[in-house]
């Protein structure tokens, strides 16, 4: 499995909890302890009520596919070399339908379809030191 194509910056407090959740086989999303709303992308304050009390909650993980593409050309980018073609897309988590997550997609037969239900499978990267969710049809 060639995902993740690049390594995240785990020193970033705002963005690393998403990746740390993967190590525990969880999709964690930022939730406001005051108003209870999720938001995405991760922000230092809740964009709904401006509270700074954000907690990352484990969510079910299942998503509905909103749109997808098949990346075929590597654009001369080193991290795409020998890793295309690949499927990637935007998917709406059951946890909150105002959020769209970027999802790496693995489909064995046929193509992704908008509206398809997908679930994350946590796989280990090529180096063996990082876990990443790859979404497959339910």
């Amino acid at each position: 499995m060639s995902f993740p194509l690049t390594d995240p910056d785990l020193d970033d407090d705002l963005l690393s909890p998403y990746w740390n959740g993967f190590q525990d086989d969880e999709i964690r999303l930022p939730n406001c302890a005051d108003c209870g709303e999720f938001h995405w992308y991760p922000r230092p304050m809740c964009p709904h009520c401006q509270s700074k009390d954000i907690e990352w909650e484990a969510t079910g993980g299942d998503v509905t596919l909103f749109t997808w593409v098949k990346l075929v050309y590597d654009f001369g980018l080193s991290f795409l070399e020998d890793r295309v073609p690949l499927y990637t897309g935007l998917a709406i988590p059951d946890a909150d339908d105002s959020i769209r997550l970027v999802v790496a997609i693995d489909i064995e037969d046929g193509e992704p379809q908008i509206g398809m239900r997908l679930t994350p499978e946590f796989v280990t990267n090529e180096r063996g030191d990082r876990t990443v969710p790859v979404y497959r049809p339910v």
Binding site: L5, D9, Y41, V69, F75, L77, V103, A104
Partner: protein, 402 residues
């Protein structure tokens, strides 16, 4: 008594100024160009075209995201021999070039400047040849912390991918077809054919389009705009000054900008109205200021970063119903030769050059002067759009005062 609204006040700027001169550098697909020399070429050309001496330029306007990194304003003023005390830049990313005339008009109307030079240029074609992952228009993705952590690792990277995903959704919601995307490419290319400055002029057939390589399904290479080296510039002056100059004045009639509720880093994935652009906001402001409707427009230079983008903006501006953009291009046509609405009369970003709509403004001026290579018959009103992710701008120019 009519209520004074923000928009009714903007009508006060209609026809107050005109574009008095235009200039362009050579456009190319690379070759070791420096962006600043291309910009100087375009600026000198515009000042000369306006019949002015450099010392008569007393204002400069550009966009704030890319240009200050490309050439220091102070260095540009020194090289051109201008001492413009008034200088400003917009924060609308790729839409900035199309709002420059409005900023210039405000300066002229308030007496801060008399002749304002607007400029933009890139050498992304040369940069891409030499800089790999770190140069050109793709470096933005790996540098933005959100994209680097939440998108790129999962394969979501490059502008063609973002808009291909939008095209997929647009096909799903409205039945837009691959052939309709192809029609945008083919007809825009047909508009490039007579244009001596177009990078790509050879005819495209539907077979050519369908046989061309898929780069990010549903997009083919021909769905994507060029990567270019080139610059363009124009001078905005008071209408009276432009009328006494050597060229036919092209009046700044209306302009407006629209911004998304989402920031630039999240716009392409989180934007609520996913198959719309902010043309839905910028268009009405420009039409209101100009006192015209889409039906009055004789040609449109649309920010065609991708074929899908032409389709979506035609819908969002009100040239057709939402979802019917593909059908509009396919059945009513956008060629100068026999389209109902000529679009990208110079071949656009797709076939002329990717100068982020600065070249769309200069083409619109030529059309309204009657000096274009692919000339629309006696146009009176032209529309130009600029687009940068979450920001959009619309400009309306005319050959006569209202």
């Amino acid at each position: 008594m009519e209520t004074v609204t923000k928009q009714s006040k903007s009508r006060d700027l209609r026809d107050v100024t005109a574009i008095s001169g235009i200039g362009e550098s050579e456009f190319s697909e690379g070759g070791g160009n420096r962006a600043e020399t291309l910009i100087y070429d375009a600026c000198r050309g515009a000042i000369r075209d306006a019949g002015l001496e450099p010392a008569e330029i007393d204002g400069v306007v550009t966009e704030a995201g890319m240009m200050p990194e490309t050439v220091y304003t102070q260095e540009l003023k020194e090289m051109l021999g201008i001492q413009a005390e008034y200088s400003t830049a917009s924060l609308l990313v790729g839409a900035g070039n199309v709002i420059s005339p409005l900023l210039a008009a405000q300066a002229i109307e308030t007496g801060l400047a008399e002749h304002v030079l607007c400029y933009f240029g890139v050498n992304w074609a040369t940069e891409r040849e030499t800089m790999g992952d770190d140069g050109g228009p793709y470096s933005y993705h790996t540098e933005d912390e959100y994209k680097a952590n939440l998108e790129v690792p999962f394969g979501w990277v490059t502008q063609p991918l973002y808009i291909a995903a939008q095209a997929r959704r647009h096909m799903y919601e409205y039945g837009t077809t691959t052939e309709q995307l192809g029609e945008v490419a083919i007809q825009t290319r047909a508009n490039a054919a007579p244009n001596e400055k177009a990078t790509k002029r050879e005819e495209l057939t539907m077979d050519d389009y369908l046989d061309s390589p898929v780069i990010v399904d549903p997009f083919r290479i021909l769905d994507c705009c060029l990567i270019s080296d080139g610059a363009a510039a124009f001078v905005v002056s008071s209408a009276e000054a432009a009328e006494s100059g050597p060229t036919d004045p092209v009046y700044v009639k209306g302009a407006g900008a629209g911004s998304s509720e989402k920031s630039e880093s999240t716009y392409m994935t989180q934007h609520e109205e996913y198959t719309m652009t902010q043309a839905t906001k910028s268009g009405p402001k420009a039409f209101e200021m100009a006192g015209v409707t889409p039906q009055d427009i004789d040609f449109a230079e649309i920010y065609d970063c991708f074929t899908e983008s032409t389709i979506v903006q035609l819908e969002d501006l009100g040239f057709c119903e939402k979802g019917d953009g593909g059908q509009f291009v396919q059945e009513r046509g956008i060629t100068v030769e026999d389209g109902d609405l000529p679009v990208n009369t110079h071949g656009g970003l797709l076939s002329q050059a990717y100068i982020l709509s600065m070249n769309h403004v200069t083409e619109a001026v030529r059309q309204l002067r009657g000096t274009a290579d692919n000339q629309v018959t006696d146009p009176e009103l032209g529309l130009v759009t600029g687009w940068g992710g979450s920001e959009h701008a619309t400009l309306i120019l005319g050959s006569d005062r209202s």
